[in-house]
Symmetry: C2
Subunit: 535 residues, 2 copies
Amino acid sequence: MQSIGASKLSLSSLSSQELWEKTGRLKSGSEVFTFNDRKESRFLLAPTHEEEITSLVANLVTSYKELPLRVYQISRKYRDEARPRQGLLRGREFLMKDLYTFDYNTEKALETYEAVREAYKRIFDTLKIPYLVAAADSGNMGGNLSHEFHFISGKGEDTLISCSECGYVYNEEVSDGHAVGPIVEEPLAIPTPSETGVGTENPPAISTALWTAISKDKKTLVRAWYPRYSSQDLGDEPGEREINSHAIKAIAKSTGVDLDTGVENPVALWLSDIEKLSATNSSIEPTHKVLDIYDSQIVPYSRPPLSGLPQGFNTAEQPIQFALLNRFPGTQDGLSLTRVLDGEKCPKCSHGSLQTHNAVELGHTFYLGTRYTEVLKAKVFVDNSVTKPGEPTHNRKPQAVPMEMGCHGIGVSRMISAVADVRADIRGLNWPRAIAPFEIIVIPARNLDAEAENVYDLLRKHTDTSDVILDDRAKQVGWKLKDADLIGYPVVVLVGKAWKSAQKLEVHCRQLGGLQDDVHIDNVVEYVQSLLQRL
Amino acid sequence: MQSIGASKLSLSSLSSQELWEKTGRLKSGSEVFTFNDRKESRFLLAPTHEEEITSLVANLVTSYKELPLRVYQISRKYRDEARPRQGLLRGREFLMKDLYTFDYNTEKALETYEAVREAYKRIFDTLKIPYLVAAADSGNMGGNLSHEFHFISGKGEDTLISCSECGYVYNEEVSDGHAVGPIVEEPLAIPTPSETGVGTENPPAISTALWTAISKDKKTLVRAWYPRYSSQDLGDEPGEREINSHAIKAIAKSTGVDLDTGVENPVALWLSDIEKLSATNSSIEPTHKVLDIYDSQIVPYSRPPLSGLPQGFNTAEQPIQFALLNRFPGTQDGLSLTRVLDGEKCPKCSHGSLQTHNAVELGHTFYLGTRYTEVLKAKVFVDNSVTKPGEPTHNRKPQAVPMEMGCHGIGVSRMISAVADVRADIRGLNWPRAIAPFEIIVIPARNLDAEAENVYDLLRKHTDTSDVILDDRAKQVGWKLKDADLIGYPVVVLVGKAWKSAQKLEVHCRQLGGLQDDVHIDNVVEYVQSLLQRL
């Protein structure tokens, strides 16, 4: 953070509900802990600090000449997580590094964004653990450019998709529903019997599956028709397809429908809303709608029957409107409703093949624009020399513009957990040099304590780390070696058997393929130094 | 903390109300922020961590051989402060260093306590700011030995009393009401007219003042009779006396009466409780009591009339018992009800004179005993080799005993404020070397940037601090010097006028009497080094 000129600060964890209401981020059901003090002042525990820093900066910065401003902190954040799980990976209290940036126009803000992204890459590079940088969804941060930094991990709750050819990486969450390739036009398919509950005599050429969801206003039932199995060319065994709810949400949203994909029985909820309304409403205007969305591999079927209806319910008698969608609104693109399967074609370069990964998000960069600075009136004065460099000096009229903001986070405590998970093996943890509690441990065998202390002093003084520890506990050497493996120090130096006969030390390094070498005391500094450079 | 073998840890700020109810510290009106999560689990924001650490240790430590255990953290704490004030000095969110210690018997626990107290002295010594260590009240921590570390400061909210001879220092809060010296036995005094509202024809030999309070159960009205002015021998001008409510509380407590000194009109509250009761109660047993407490300088007056009674209220008709106290219960000591005035005699050594100080509490050591470990079942097994070293080996029966605990805090954020306050002068802040953001600042005059950078490199490499900063901002040298004074760096090195002619640097040090010296570049390392050693 300091390499990009950011200053460290420390913001209060207690923030005000009023402030968060101004930016519209405090809604009922939001993952924020709220409470009142003894005087009934309304507080919250900050899960992030855009509001706090923006209102602070609004009061301190007035001229574009004070920009760029970059400030960061490393502090605890709080979230009323519905399902805290996996220890440090998803908790109610966590440690985060957050950086906030302020610029006076888009061009400068994008320069800042790139500088931060490069700094984040350097941070992740020092861990020497493979990571992916994915194009990301900016969620409720309100931004319009964002990237995520991920470790690939079986414990990950995100799905990333990467291309073998063009290097494109994206989070499944950003799937917009656009399909690649031709749209199936021949009438190969009708809904399968198992889904509709209605028998049919034409066996389907491609097995079709159905997924339903309801809009937040309960007026629209969305039915998504998608191929049950992957198409032939991906391999011998057809893979089973899963719906991509993110894609369907994006498609529905483009038609003005806001879906709630968390409802368990959407059809029942939709029907009960119709019945509630028809009891009081005699209008013949349709109030409810069925929106059928078709994957580009499925040929649309004309108004397939509604399944799960109660006996005697006649859709024709109800004020229901049917609609069909098999092109992305406003385009000729077909729709892709399913989650990517390994081996599919890349939508970006059209010739690479895609691979999916479970991943853990550890860093996130956002370009926020003026989402917060507009509302919280964080403005600076710029003059025409900035906005119109050609104008003569006497025409320079200062003008107040909202600052362009960025926010950038690294999950510090969850990184401990993710690194532990990715690097641990049967013998224990295995810390990268950059975050190991100590880089080197010196362990004496019986009666070699003084010699070990000398080795400790030697390494501490003459290697380029002072992160050395001496295990001087009253335990057996075998126990200490096991404990060192459990804790996962990068380099273990044992003052053991070879010491008395040859003044040699045993150097272990699990990270370099379980390396173990006897090294003479005269060479040990140079040897350990060369190991550290590879870690 | 590390010098006494303490390990650093990090406890959650979110704690559970249930846990705090077990130790009885979560009561209505307590200064703790509480709230529920979305599943109605009951949380609190920890203001301190005795409960949390004790329940953790209870699960991890089972044998006395694992003791002593000393763990500390530096983290934010939260308190629903009724009157947050003076910025960092008393806020709702603050940074605290807290150390918790565990031992298996009192002897070991007291050894630990002394080790911590010595470590705290070393910490405060490094600040080179005068401080007092006072015998303290252990308040609601439940301990039985405690000391406070204070700066003397006009902004302080504590009152310390120190003796000129014996070095005894104590917080006014620990006043127990014992008087020093003889008790006045001659009938010099009766209550003054102004207090009782009743005229009198005998002018009092010593002017007496009255202070009243009521017990928490509203049954007992305490009247404290004390001298209005200091006795003659303290000086020519008699000082006005103030009541010491801590002393009266302590005296009342020794008779089994728990006082609430926060009630505004105790007599009215006491009367209304009598009237409420007499409406329903026909018993002639006295239900209410007046306890008259007399300072040793006041001669008890036989049942002085109650002031502030409504018309027609006859105390004789009411079930009221009168009691008088002018000796400390169980002793022959007289009572001292007033706050100490400068120049009074020391109660400890009886010949030194006392001085009072406004002070800011910055550190506190507590020996807690088993207050928390009993309730939270934090026990270790000891065997007879420990409890009865003389016993033969086959008689060693392991026995579970609650651990003996200590807790020890330093207010980190309030220390910033207190140090700033004590050390600042008209030119700005003035940080002790130990906590200065940077110990040395190098400032270039115009066109001497490269030379200043060389000086910066020189000082950074060859003095025993790396806390050096170069002011390379695009500002005038005068502005930079003023800014350096405002920020309060201990040492300022200016590369200015004397550079070109004589290769000399101007070294400033406000902390050493506004020292300013021209020092040749060849001597600057040695010179600055010698300054640092005096800071």
